[in-house]
Amino acid sequence: MPTVLVIDDEDMVRLVLRQFLERQSMTVVEAEDGEEGLRLLRANAVDLVICDLIMPRADGIGTIMNIRRLMPAMKIIAISGGGRSHAMELLKVAEQMGADHVLGKPFTRDQLLAVVARCLPGHPMTVRSSARSG
């Protein structure tokens, strides 16, 4: 059963992602900022990281760079948006800094699962449509 680390400062986003992923038989570990995310990453056998970019204390781009440095093979999905007008620009930056895929909020369950499926090809998923991603 793959383990996904979700790093997002918004409780609601973490809750929704947890529900989506647990229904796909995945284990979810949650962190509310980049610092906690890195700590949990070291403490758990994580297969995939889903990381928000705009977070207090430790932002997502710096966190992605640190993850890439610590674990070069780790699969990372960057998510961002939430009403911010320049979030897409930051997703491009995240890609340049090491994210494998990016998703702009708001995204649908199937868009998320399609990207997750690409990151975890050996894990069976229930996906109904293709996702927009980087």
Binding site: D9, G34, L53, I54, M55, P56, R57, A58, D59, G60, I61, G62, M65, R69, S80, G83, R84, S85, H86, A87, E89, L90, V93, Q96, M97
Partner: protein, 464 residues
């Protein structure tokens, strides 16, 4: 208009101030004689002070009466009286300058004689004092119930006081306010006072006691240049002048804090004028050495509101060579929130021919800038101060601030970015210009334009 007898007032003071009588009759006699002498000297001094025609005509003698507070406290007044007086002394002393005088003239009554403020500015200081005191003891004050009395004349040793509620004073300020300060009467009528109740103009802690600085203290104030990152173009293209005050003990304060102790508009104007002149000289030198950069120069409302200092400032503007004007930005500071758009447009137009852009410094939490649309302003600057625990709230504030500015077609510049996460959030919110220690510290001399991308920011963080 109630009439108060000066003699009665003075007698009341001494009844209040008289210490308990000593038990030894001889010592009591000596003490009484000393008291009488002290009383007579005091009375002479006060009579001279309170009946000086120039003080009266200038509206510099004020009486603060806490009758309403006493009524609202009811039976608790007798228990709280000492605490009220102690708090009143503290609050009054915080708001008045060393040259002003305050006396307790009765139970819950104070006389304040202002050395320099105009009548309206002095009334507002008194209103602010009363508001703070009422807030301290009865919570939310009813501004209509708090009155400030201004001495308007003296007849046969009696002072005539005119009473106005704080609500009335504020209403008057909104219509024809004059900025607080010794030269307030010389200023053109601006839109709102820099002294206000319940709200504060952007750019400095209202609570800090303001003074005129000595020449030596003025010499402690200098200018440094802080890099501004144009996030959209990924370049550090602009340096903003930031005032720095260096204290003899080696400490220093930067930004608005460096100016927060100055109340005298002439001193502020001198700093503005010197800053512009020095900056233009530096910019010219850099330009001749093929450096290309923009510089943002601050100018205070006080400087532009008073005709004389405005003319002095504009004279320097006119001396700016044509080839440097596209590299100059003006940032308006200390502008009260209620300046009408027409007045704002006039002031923008005064400096617009000499610069590329004009920015206005505002509070980050201000949510509507519709009135600024069409004034000719290019954008808004805001200063955030943060420790890491406040970042989540600041991110929401920045988002709302930029959205409100964009609705008014204004660019935004956020100053005080101390972490990468705040820089990311500021850009995500849509701001175009960012400054703060995370981008670069203030320098003595501005530098050349510099390509600066996200990678540079993150890599710089990773090597620290």
């Amino acid at each position: 208009m109630p009439v108060v007898s000066l003699g009665e007032k003075l007698r009341n003071w001494f009844v209040e101030e008289e210490p308990a009588a000593p038990s030894n009759p001889a010592r009591r006699e000596t003490a009484v004689a000393a008291d009488i002498e002290r009383m007579q000297a005091f009375e002479r001094r006060l009579k001279v002070l309170l009946t000086q025609p120039q003080l009266l005509s200038a509206g510099r003698i004020h009486m603060l009466n806490f009758d309403t507070l006493r009524e609202r406290l009811g039976p608790a007044w007798s228990e709280l009286r000492d605490r009220v007086h102690s708090a009143a002394d503290r609050i009054i002393n915080r708001h008045i300058s060393d040259r002003d005088v305050q006396f307790r003239s009765g139970d819950g009554e104070y006389i304040i004689v202002f050395a320099a403020l105009s009548r309206s500015a002095a009334s507002l200081v008194c209103a602010k004092i009363a508001e703070e005191l009422y807030r301290l003891f009865v919570g939310d004050p009813k501004l209509a119930d708090i009155t400030v009395a201004t001495a308007v004349g003296a007849v046969d040793g009696k002072l005539l006081f005119e009473h106005a509620s704080v609500a009335e004073l504020l209403s008057a300020v909104e219509q024809t306010a004059v900025p607080a300060g010794p030269t307030a009467q010389a200023a053109d009528p601006p839109a709102a006072s820099t002294a206000s109740i319940g709200t504060s103009a952007a750019g400095g802690p209202e609570e800090q006691r303001k003074l005129n600085l000595s020449a030596l203290e003025m010499a402690q104030i200098g200018i440094m240049y802080r890099p501004l990152w144009d996030v959209g173009r990924q370049v550090i293209s602009t340096y903003m002048c930031t005032p720095v005050r260096r204290f003899p003990d080696g400490t220093s304060v930067e930004g608005m804090l460096a100016l927060s102790a100055i109340a005298d508009p002439q001193q502020l104007a001198k700093i503005d004028i010197d800053t512009l002149a020095d900056t233009v000289e530096i910019l010219d030198e850099l330009f001749r050495n093929k450096f290309r950069l923009m510089v943002s120069v601050p100018v205070c409302f006080e400087t532009l509101a008073a005709r004389r200092s405005r003319q002095d400032f504009l004279a320097i503007c006119q001396s700016v060579p044509d080839y440097l004007r596209p590299f100059l930005i003006f940032e308006f500071l200390h502008f009260p929130t209620g300046v009408p758009s027409g007045r704002m447009g006039e002031l923008v137009n005064e400096v617009r021919p000499f610069c590329r852009w004009t920015f206005l410094r505002v509070e980050c939490r201000q949510q509507s800038f519709a009135s600024l649309s069409g004034t000719g302003l290019t954008g808004l600057t805001t200063m955030i101060t943060s420790d890491r625990s406040m970042e989540a709230r600041l991110m929401e504030d920045m988002n709302s601030f930029v959205a409100a500015a964009e609705r008014a077609n204004l660019k935004t510049c956020i100053v005080g970015i101390t972490s990468t996460s705040l820089a990311v959030a500021a850009r995500a919110a849509g701001t175009t210009l960012i400054a703060g220690d995370r981008i670069g510290r203030a320098e003595e001399i501005p530098q050349h334009m510099l390509r600066f991308g996200w990678q540079d920011l993150f890599l710089r963080e990773s090597v620290r």
